[in-house]
Protein backbone atom coordinates (compact mmCIF):
# COMPACT_ATOMS: atom_id res chain seq x y z
CA UNK A 1 0.00 0.00 0.00
CA UNK A 2 1.24 3.41 -0.89
CA UNK A 3 0.11 5.93 1.58
CA UNK A 4 -0.31 9.41 0.30
CA UNK A 5 -0.28 12.08 2.90
CA UNK A 6 -1.96 15.15 1.48
CA UNK A 7 -0.93 18.51 2.79
CA UNK A 8 -3.58 19.85 5.02
CA UNK A 9 -5.38 22.81 3.63
CA UNK A 10 -4.12 25.45 6.05
CA UNK A 11 -0.57 24.70 5.00
CA UNK A 12 -1.11 25.23 1.33
CA UNK A 13 -1.19 28.64 -0.20
CA UNK A 14 -2.60 29.85 -3.44
CA UNK A 15 -0.48 29.75 -6.62
CA UNK A 16 2.72 31.79 -6.52
CA UNK A 17 1.40 34.93 -8.09
CA UNK A 18 -0.87 35.44 -5.11
CA UNK A 19 1.85 35.24 -2.54
CA UNK A 20 4.78 37.07 -4.05
CA UNK A 21 5.18 39.33 -1.07
CA UNK A 22 4.80 36.97 1.80
CA UNK A 23 6.85 33.88 1.63
CA UNK A 24 10.17 35.34 0.75
CA UNK A 25 9.78 37.74 3.58
CA UNK A 26 12.34 37.05 6.27
CA UNK A 27 9.76 37.41 8.94
CA UNK A 28 8.20 34.14 7.84
CA UNK A 29 11.20 32.01 7.03
CA UNK A 30 12.54 30.94 10.36
CA UNK A 31 15.27 28.43 11.04
CA UNK A 32 15.94 26.95 7.69
CA UNK A 33 17.12 23.42 8.20
CA UNK A 34 20.49 22.76 6.58
CA UNK A 35 19.35 19.58 4.94
CA UNK A 36 16.84 20.82 2.47
CA UNK A 37 16.01 18.86 -0.59
CA UNK A 38 15.02 20.63 -3.75
CA UNK A 39 11.46 19.45 -3.41
CA UNK A 40 11.41 20.77 0.12
CA UNK A 41 12.70 24.08 -1.05
CA UNK A 42 10.04 24.17 -3.69
CA UNK A 43 7.37 23.43 -1.12
CA UNK A 44 8.61 26.23 1.08
CA UNK A 45 7.17 28.55 -1.46
CA UNK A 46 3.77 27.25 -0.66
CA UNK A 47 3.91 26.34 2.99
CA UNK A 48 3.31 28.79 5.74
CA UNK A 49 6.39 28.41 7.92
CA UNK A 50 5.65 30.26 11.04
CA UNK A 51 2.83 30.12 13.44
CA UNK A 52 1.82 33.62 14.28
CA UNK A 53 -0.32 34.42 17.24
CA UNK A 54 -3.87 35.37 16.54
CA UNK A 55 -3.24 38.96 17.59
CA UNK A 56 -0.21 39.30 15.36
CA UNK A 57 -2.10 37.88 12.45
CA UNK A 58 -4.90 40.36 12.81
CA UNK A 59 -2.71 43.39 13.05
CA UNK A 60 -0.31 42.42 10.34
CA UNK A 61 -2.83 41.09 7.94
CA UNK A 62 -4.03 44.54 7.01
CA UNK A 63 -0.99 45.56 5.06
CA UNK A 64 1.61 43.29 3.70
CA UNK A 65 1.90 40.34 5.99
CA UNK A 66 -0.29 37.54 4.85
CA UNK A 67 -1.54 36.34 1.54
CA UNK A 68 -5.10 36.49 2.77
CA UNK A 69 -5.02 40.17 3.63
CA UNK A 70 -7.47 42.45 1.91
CA UNK A 71 -4.76 44.83 0.77
CA UNK A 72 -2.74 42.03 -0.75
CA UNK A 73 -5.60 40.47 -2.56
CA UNK A 74 -6.93 43.71 -3.97
CA UNK A 75 -3.43 44.77 -4.97
CA UNK A 76 -2.83 41.59 -6.89
CA UNK A 77 -6.29 41.55 -8.37
CA UNK A 78 -5.99 45.11 -9.62
CA UNK A 79 -2.48 44.72 -11.00
CA UNK A 80 -3.34 41.43 -12.66
CA UNK A 81 -6.48 42.88 -14.23
CA UNK A 82 -4.62 45.95 -15.49
CA UNK A 83 -1.83 43.81 -16.93
CA UNK A 84 -4.26 41.59 -18.78
CA UNK A 85 -6.22 44.56 -20.10
CA UNK A 86 -3.07 46.32 -21.26
CA UNK A 87 -1.89 43.20 -23.10
CA UNK A 88 -5.27 42.67 -24.76
CA UNK A 89 -5.46 46.34 -25.80
CA UNK A 90 -1.95 46.23 -27.19
CA UNK A 91 -2.70 43.02 -29.08
CA UNK A 92 -5.89 44.59 -30.47
CA UNK A 93 -3.97 47.65 -31.68
CA UNK A 94 -1.21 45.51 -33.19
CA UNK A 95 -3.62 43.13 -34.90
CA UNK A 96 -4.87 45.81 -37.28
CA UNK A 97 -1.70 47.91 -37.49
CA UNK A 98 -0.60 46.63 -40.88
CA UNK A 99 -3.95 46.36 -42.63
CA UNK A 100 -4.47 48.42 -45.78
CA UNK A 101 -7.34 50.88 -45.61
CA UNK A 102 -7.10 52.24 -49.18
CA UNK A 103 -10.22 51.97 -51.33
CA UNK A 104 -11.16 53.60 -54.62
CA UNK A 105 -13.79 56.31 -54.16
CA UNK A 106 -15.38 57.69 -57.30
CA UNK A 107 -16.18 61.39 -57.12
CA UNK A 108 -17.64 63.73 -59.72
CA UNK A 109 -18.21 67.47 -59.34
CA UNK A 110 -21.43 68.89 -60.74
CA UNK A 111 -23.12 72.27 -61.11
CA UNK A 112 -20.11 74.43 -60.42
CA UNK A 113 -20.91 78.10 -59.93
CA UNK A 114 -18.86 81.05 -58.80
CA UNK A 115 -20.04 84.08 -56.91
CA UNK A 116 -18.17 87.18 -55.90
CA UNK A 117 -19.80 88.29 -52.67
CA UNK A 118 -18.89 89.62 -49.21
CA UNK A 119 -17.48 86.89 -47.01
CA UNK A 120 -19.73 87.14 -43.97
CA UNK A 121 -17.80 84.39 -42.18
CA UNK A 122 -14.67 86.51 -41.92
CA UNK A 123 -14.24 90.20 -42.54
CA UNK A 124 -16.95 90.90 -45.15
CA UNK A 125 -14.35 91.46 -47.84
CA UNK A 126 -15.40 90.52 -51.37
CA UNK A 127 -14.29 86.92 -51.86
CA UNK A 128 -14.93 84.16 -54.30
CA UNK A 129 -17.60 81.75 -53.22
CA UNK A 130 -18.03 78.46 -55.04
CA UNK A 131 -21.08 76.25 -55.24
CA UNK A 132 -20.17 72.67 -55.99
CA UNK A 133 -22.53 69.73 -56.09
CA UNK A 134 -21.02 66.30 -56.34
CA UNK A 135 -21.51 62.56 -56.65
CA UNK A 136 -19.63 60.17 -54.39
CA UNK A 137 -19.58 56.44 -54.78
CA UNK A 138 -17.49 54.33 -52.43
CA UNK A 139 -17.80 51.03 -50.61
CA UNK A 140 -16.08 51.27 -47.25
CA UNK A 141 -17.76 48.24 -45.70
CA UNK A 142 -14.58 46.22 -45.96
CA UNK A 143 -12.73 48.64 -43.70
CA UNK A 144 -14.68 47.73 -40.61
CA UNK A 145 -13.03 45.27 -38.28
CA UNK A 146 -12.91 44.79 -34.52
CA UNK A 147 -10.56 47.71 -34.12
CA UNK A 148 -12.51 50.31 -36.09
CA UNK A 149 -14.77 52.50 -34.02
CA UNK A 150 -15.76 54.93 -36.71
CA UNK A 151 -14.80 56.31 -40.07
CA UNK A 152 -14.74 60.02 -40.67
CA UNK A 153 -15.23 60.36 -44.43
CA UNK A 154 -14.65 63.77 -46.00
CA UNK A 155 -14.51 65.35 -49.42
CA UNK A 156 -11.67 67.76 -50.04
CA UNK A 157 -11.39 70.39 -52.75
CA UNK A 158 -7.77 71.19 -53.48
CA UNK A 159 -6.63 74.07 -55.69
CA UNK A 160 -3.98 76.72 -56.16
CA UNK A 161 -4.42 80.46 -56.67
CA UNK A 162 -2.10 83.40 -57.17
CA UNK A 163 -2.36 84.35 -53.49
CA UNK A 164 -2.02 80.87 -52.05
CA UNK A 165 -0.02 78.06 -53.61
CA UNK A 166 -1.93 75.39 -51.77
CA UNK A 167 -5.53 75.45 -50.60
CA UNK A 168 -7.70 72.73 -49.13
CA UNK A 169 -11.37 73.11 -48.32
CA UNK A 170 -13.52 70.35 -46.89
CA UNK A 171 -16.92 70.62 -48.55
CA UNK A 172 -18.64 67.59 -47.08
CA UNK A 173 -18.10 65.02 -44.35
CA UNK A 174 -19.84 62.08 -42.81
CA UNK A 175 -19.33 60.01 -39.67
CA UNK A 176 -19.88 56.31 -40.23
CA UNK A 177 -20.15 54.08 -37.21
CA UNK A 178 -21.55 50.88 -38.69
CA UNK A 179 -20.60 48.57 -41.48
CA UNK A 180 -24.13 48.72 -42.91
CA UNK A 181 -23.85 52.48 -43.39
CA UNK A 182 -20.51 52.33 -45.13
CA UNK A 183 -21.79 51.93 -48.68
CA UNK A 184 -21.98 55.52 -49.91
CA UNK A 185 -23.79 56.46 -53.08
CA UNK A 186 -24.46 60.19 -53.21
CA UNK A 187 -25.96 61.85 -56.24
CA UNK A 188 -25.84 65.58 -56.90
CA UNK A 189 -25.39 66.47 -53.25
CA UNK A 190 -24.88 70.10 -52.26
CA UNK A 191 -21.78 70.94 -50.28
CA UNK A 192 -22.17 70.91 -46.54
CA UNK A 193 -19.66 73.64 -45.75
CA UNK A 194 -19.14 76.99 -47.40
CA UNK A 195 -16.57 76.96 -50.14
CA UNK A 196 -14.92 80.35 -49.71
CA UNK A 197 -11.64 81.16 -51.33
CA UNK A 198 -9.15 83.18 -49.32
CA UNK A 199 -9.34 86.09 -51.77
CA UNK A 200 -10.73 86.11 -55.31
CA UNK A 201 -8.72 83.66 -57.29
CA UNK A 202 -11.09 80.88 -58.28
CA UNK A 203 -11.93 81.85 -61.87
CA UNK A 204 -10.32 79.61 -64.52
CA UNK A 205 -8.61 77.57 -61.83
CA UNK A 206 -8.32 73.83 -61.72
CA UNK A 207 -9.77 72.18 -58.67
CA UNK A 208 -9.35 68.59 -57.58
CA UNK A 209 -12.00 66.77 -55.60
CA UNK A 210 -11.13 63.62 -53.68
CA UNK A 211 -12.52 61.60 -50.82
CA UNK A 212 -10.44 60.75 -47.74
CA UNK A 213 -11.23 58.96 -44.53
CA UNK A 214 -9.87 59.08 -41.05
CA UNK A 215 -9.99 55.70 -39.32
CA UNK A 216 -10.68 56.01 -35.60
CA UNK A 217 -9.69 52.77 -33.84
CA UNK A 218 -10.98 51.31 -30.60
CA UNK A 219 -7.34 51.58 -29.51
CA UNK A 220 -4.25 52.24 -31.57
CA UNK A 221 -3.04 54.41 -34.41
CA UNK A 222 -5.22 57.07 -36.05
CA UNK A 223 -4.96 56.69 -39.80
CA UNK A 224 -5.68 59.13 -42.60
CA UNK A 225 -6.25 57.56 -46.00
CA UNK A 226 -7.00 59.32 -49.28
CA UNK A 227 -8.68 57.67 -52.23
CA UNK A 228 -6.43 57.38 -55.28
CA UNK A 229 -9.29 58.48 -57.56
CA UNK A 230 -9.76 62.21 -58.04
CA UNK A 231 -11.96 64.46 -60.12
CA UNK A 232 -10.27 67.48 -61.65
CA UNK A 233 -12.22 70.24 -63.34
CA UNK A 234 -12.02 73.89 -64.22
CA UNK A 235 -13.88 76.63 -62.41
CA UNK A 236 -15.95 78.82 -64.73
CA UNK A 237 -14.45 82.02 -66.08
CA UNK A 238 -17.41 84.19 -65.11
CA UNK A 239 -19.27 84.91 -61.91
CA UNK A 240 -22.89 84.03 -61.65
CA UNK A 241 -23.51 86.70 -59.10
CA UNK A 242 -21.36 89.72 -58.27
CA UNK A 243 -21.79 92.14 -55.43
CA UNK A 244 -20.09 95.46 -55.91
CA UNK A 245 -19.36 97.53 -52.87
Amino acid sequence: MISVRPLSIEHVALPPFWNRNCYFHEQFTVHRSPSRTSSNRFLENFVFREELSQKQCETRSIFCSRMHSLANRSNHLVSYTLTVMAIITGACALSTRFLRYERPARVVGRRVELHHIPNFTTDNALNDFAVVNFDVKVDLRGLFNWNVKQLFVYLTAEYATDDNVFNQVVVWDEIIERREDALLDLNDVASEYFFWDDGSGLRNRNVTLYVSWNVIPVAGALLDVASPLTNRFLFPSTYKHVVTK
Binding site: Q150, D163, N164, N167, N214, A221
Partner: protein, 180 residues
Protein backbone atom coordinates in the same frame (compact mmCIF):
# COMPACT_ATOMS: atom_id res chain seq x y z
CA UNK B 1 -5.83 49.94 14.15
CA UNK B 2 -4.29 50.17 10.74
CA UNK B 3 -1.16 51.91 11.85
CA UNK B 4 -0.75 50.88 15.47
CA UNK B 5 1.31 47.78 15.00
CA UNK B 6 1.53 46.42 11.52
CA UNK B 7 2.89 49.31 9.58
CA UNK B 8 4.85 50.94 12.37
CA UNK B 9 6.45 47.61 13.13
CA UNK B 10 7.62 47.44 9.57
CA UNK B 11 9.07 50.93 9.68
CA UNK B 12 10.66 50.34 13.06
CA UNK B 13 12.35 47.21 11.86
CA UNK B 14 14.16 49.07 9.13
CA UNK B 15 17.40 50.67 9.98
CA UNK B 16 18.49 54.03 8.68
CA UNK B 17 20.17 52.61 5.60
CA UNK B 18 17.13 50.72 4.55
CA UNK B 19 14.97 53.76 4.98
CA UNK B 20 17.30 55.84 2.85
CA UNK B 21 17.27 53.11 0.24
CA UNK B 22 13.50 53.21 0.15
CA UNK B 23 13.55 56.98 -0.23
CA UNK B 24 16.01 56.56 -3.05
CA UNK B 25 13.84 54.07 -4.88
CA UNK B 26 10.89 56.40 -4.45
CA UNK B 27 12.95 59.17 -6.01
CA UNK B 28 13.91 56.82 -8.83
CA UNK B 29 10.27 56.20 -9.64
CA UNK B 30 9.48 59.92 -9.70
CA UNK B 31 12.52 60.82 -11.78
CA UNK B 32 12.03 58.00 -14.27
CA UNK B 33 8.45 59.13 -14.84
CA UNK B 34 9.76 62.64 -15.48
CA UNK B 35 12.44 61.27 -17.80
CA UNK B 36 9.89 59.32 -19.83
CA UNK B 37 7.74 62.44 -20.21
CA UNK B 38 10.66 64.66 -21.23
CA UNK B 39 11.98 61.93 -23.52
CA UNK B 40 8.61 61.69 -25.23
CA UNK B 41 8.68 65.46 -25.73
CA UNK B 42 11.98 65.14 -27.56
CA UNK B 43 10.89 62.16 -29.66
CA UNK B 44 7.51 63.56 -30.67
CA UNK B 45 8.47 67.21 -30.96
CA UNK B 46 5.34 68.16 -29.06
CA UNK B 47 5.29 70.11 -25.83
CA UNK B 48 2.67 67.73 -24.42
CA UNK B 49 2.86 64.38 -26.23
CA UNK B 50 -0.08 62.83 -24.37
CA UNK B 51 -3.34 64.69 -23.80
CA UNK B 52 -6.64 63.78 -22.22
CA UNK B 53 -9.86 64.66 -24.05
CA UNK B 54 -11.96 66.83 -21.75
CA UNK B 55 -15.05 67.62 -23.79
CA UNK B 56 -17.48 65.90 -26.08
CA UNK B 57 -16.90 68.12 -29.10
CA UNK B 58 -15.24 65.31 -31.06
CA UNK B 59 -17.81 62.64 -30.27
CA UNK B 60 -18.33 59.93 -31.35
CA UNK B 61 -14.63 59.67 -32.17
CA UNK B 62 -13.28 60.86 -28.83
CA UNK B 63 -15.11 60.93 -25.56
CA UNK B 64 -14.27 62.59 -22.31
CA UNK B 65 -11.40 60.72 -20.67
CA UNK B 66 -9.84 59.27 -23.80
CA UNK B 67 -6.11 59.54 -24.27
CA UNK B 68 -4.46 60.94 -27.41
CA UNK B 69 -0.84 60.55 -28.44
CA UNK B 70 0.51 63.52 -30.34
CA UNK B 71 3.42 64.30 -32.58
CA UNK B 72 4.39 67.72 -33.84
CA UNK B 73 7.11 67.34 -36.43
CA UNK B 74 7.70 70.67 -38.12
CA UNK B 75 8.61 69.04 -41.44
CA UNK B 76 5.33 67.22 -41.93
CA UNK B 77 2.70 69.69 -43.04
CA UNK B 78 -0.71 70.33 -41.53
CA UNK B 79 -3.42 69.05 -43.84
CA UNK B 80 -7.18 69.09 -43.92
CA UNK B 81 -8.88 66.27 -42.01
CA UNK B 82 -6.10 66.00 -39.46
CA UNK B 83 -6.96 66.20 -35.79
CA UNK B 84 -4.92 68.98 -34.23
CA UNK B 85 -4.51 70.05 -30.64
CA UNK B 86 -4.15 73.82 -30.43
CA UNK B 87 -3.92 76.55 -27.85
CA UNK B 88 -5.92 79.73 -28.06
CA UNK B 89 -4.82 82.92 -26.38
CA UNK B 90 -6.84 83.48 -23.23
CA UNK B 91 -7.71 79.82 -22.82
CA UNK B 92 -5.65 77.62 -20.52
CA UNK B 93 -6.86 74.31 -21.85
CA UNK B 94 -5.86 73.22 -25.36
CA UNK B 95 -8.60 72.19 -27.80
CA UNK B 96 -8.70 69.00 -29.89
CA UNK B 97 -10.46 69.59 -33.23
CA UNK B 98 -10.24 68.70 -36.89
CA UNK B 99 -8.84 70.93 -39.66
CA UNK B 100 -11.58 72.03 -42.05
CA UNK B 101 -9.94 74.61 -44.33
CA UNK B 102 -6.36 75.46 -45.09
CA UNK B 103 -4.53 78.09 -47.11
CA UNK B 104 -0.80 78.03 -47.69
CA UNK B 105 1.28 80.91 -49.05
CA UNK B 106 4.38 80.66 -51.22
CA UNK B 107 6.67 81.33 -48.27
CA UNK B 108 5.17 78.36 -46.43
CA UNK B 109 2.99 80.20 -43.93
CA UNK B 110 -0.17 78.26 -43.33
CA UNK B 111 -3.47 79.44 -41.92
CA UNK B 112 -6.26 77.03 -41.17
CA UNK B 113 -9.69 76.74 -39.65
CA UNK B 114 -10.85 73.93 -37.37
CA UNK B 115 -14.15 72.40 -36.35
CA UNK B 116 -15.22 69.79 -33.81
CA UNK B 117 -16.92 66.75 -35.33
CA UNK B 118 -19.79 67.10 -32.91
CA UNK B 119 -20.16 70.88 -33.33
CA UNK B 120 -22.41 72.30 -35.99
CA UNK B 121 -20.25 75.36 -36.64
CA UNK B 122 -16.54 75.98 -37.05
CA UNK B 123 -14.29 77.20 -34.27
CA UNK B 124 -14.12 80.92 -35.04
CA UNK B 125 -16.29 81.51 -31.98
CA UNK B 126 -13.73 79.71 -29.81
CA UNK B 127 -10.68 81.57 -31.05
CA UNK B 128 -9.42 84.74 -29.45
CA UNK B 129 -11.52 87.82 -30.27
CA UNK B 130 -10.73 88.97 -33.80
CA UNK B 131 -8.80 85.78 -34.62
CA UNK B 132 -10.02 84.18 -37.84
CA UNK B 133 -7.37 81.54 -38.47
CA UNK B 134 -4.96 79.30 -36.64
CA UNK B 135 -1.30 79.17 -37.60
CA UNK B 136 1.43 76.64 -36.95
CA UNK B 137 2.55 78.29 -33.75
CA UNK B 138 -0.85 77.65 -32.17
CA UNK B 139 -0.52 73.90 -32.68
CA UNK B 140 0.54 71.76 -29.73
CA UNK B 141 0.41 68.52 -31.69
CA UNK B 142 -1.35 66.31 -34.20
CA UNK B 143 -3.25 63.23 -32.95
CA UNK B 144 -1.55 60.00 -34.02
CA UNK B 145 -2.71 57.41 -31.51
CA UNK B 146 -5.74 56.76 -29.39
CA UNK B 147 -6.41 54.95 -26.13
CA UNK B 148 -9.88 54.95 -24.60
CA UNK B 149 -10.89 55.63 -20.96
CA UNK B 150 -7.40 55.78 -19.43
CA UNK B 151 -7.53 59.54 -18.98
CA UNK B 152 -10.49 59.29 -16.62
CA UNK B 153 -7.98 58.79 -13.78
CA UNK B 154 -6.47 62.23 -14.34
CA UNK B 155 -9.91 63.80 -14.74
CA UNK B 156 -10.96 62.40 -11.37
CA UNK B 157 -7.71 63.57 -9.85
CA UNK B 158 -8.23 67.09 -11.12
CA UNK B 159 -11.84 67.23 -10.08
CA UNK B 160 -11.35 65.70 -6.65
CA UNK B 161 -8.04 66.90 -5.18
CA UNK B 162 -8.63 64.76 -2.09
CA UNK B 163 -8.65 61.68 -4.29
CA UNK B 164 -5.33 62.80 -5.77
CA UNK B 165 -3.71 63.24 -2.36
CA UNK B 166 -5.09 59.91 -1.19
CA UNK B 167 -3.61 58.13 -4.21
CA UNK B 168 -0.26 59.89 -3.76
CA UNK B 169 -0.20 59.09 -0.04
CA UNK B 170 -1.02 55.43 -0.67
CA UNK B 171 1.67 55.14 -3.34
CA UNK B 172 4.24 56.88 -1.18
CA UNK B 173 3.43 54.70 1.82
CA UNK B 174 3.50 51.57 -0.27
CA UNK B 175 6.91 52.36 -1.71
CA UNK B 176 8.37 53.33 1.67
CA UNK B 177 6.97 50.40 3.62
CA UNK B 178 7.18 47.69 1.02
CA UNK B 179 10.28 45.55 1.21
CA UNK B 180 11.32 43.26 -1.59
Amino acid sequence: MLFDQGVLDELWRMNKRQFLYQCLSFGMIVSSALMIWKGLMVVTGSESPIVVVLSGSMEPAFHRGDLLFLTNYQEDPVRVGEIVVFKVEGRDIPIVHRVLKLHEKVNGTVKFLTKGDNNSVDDRGLYAPGQLWLTKKDVVGRARGFLPYVGMVTIYMNEYPKFKYAVLACLGLYVLVHRE
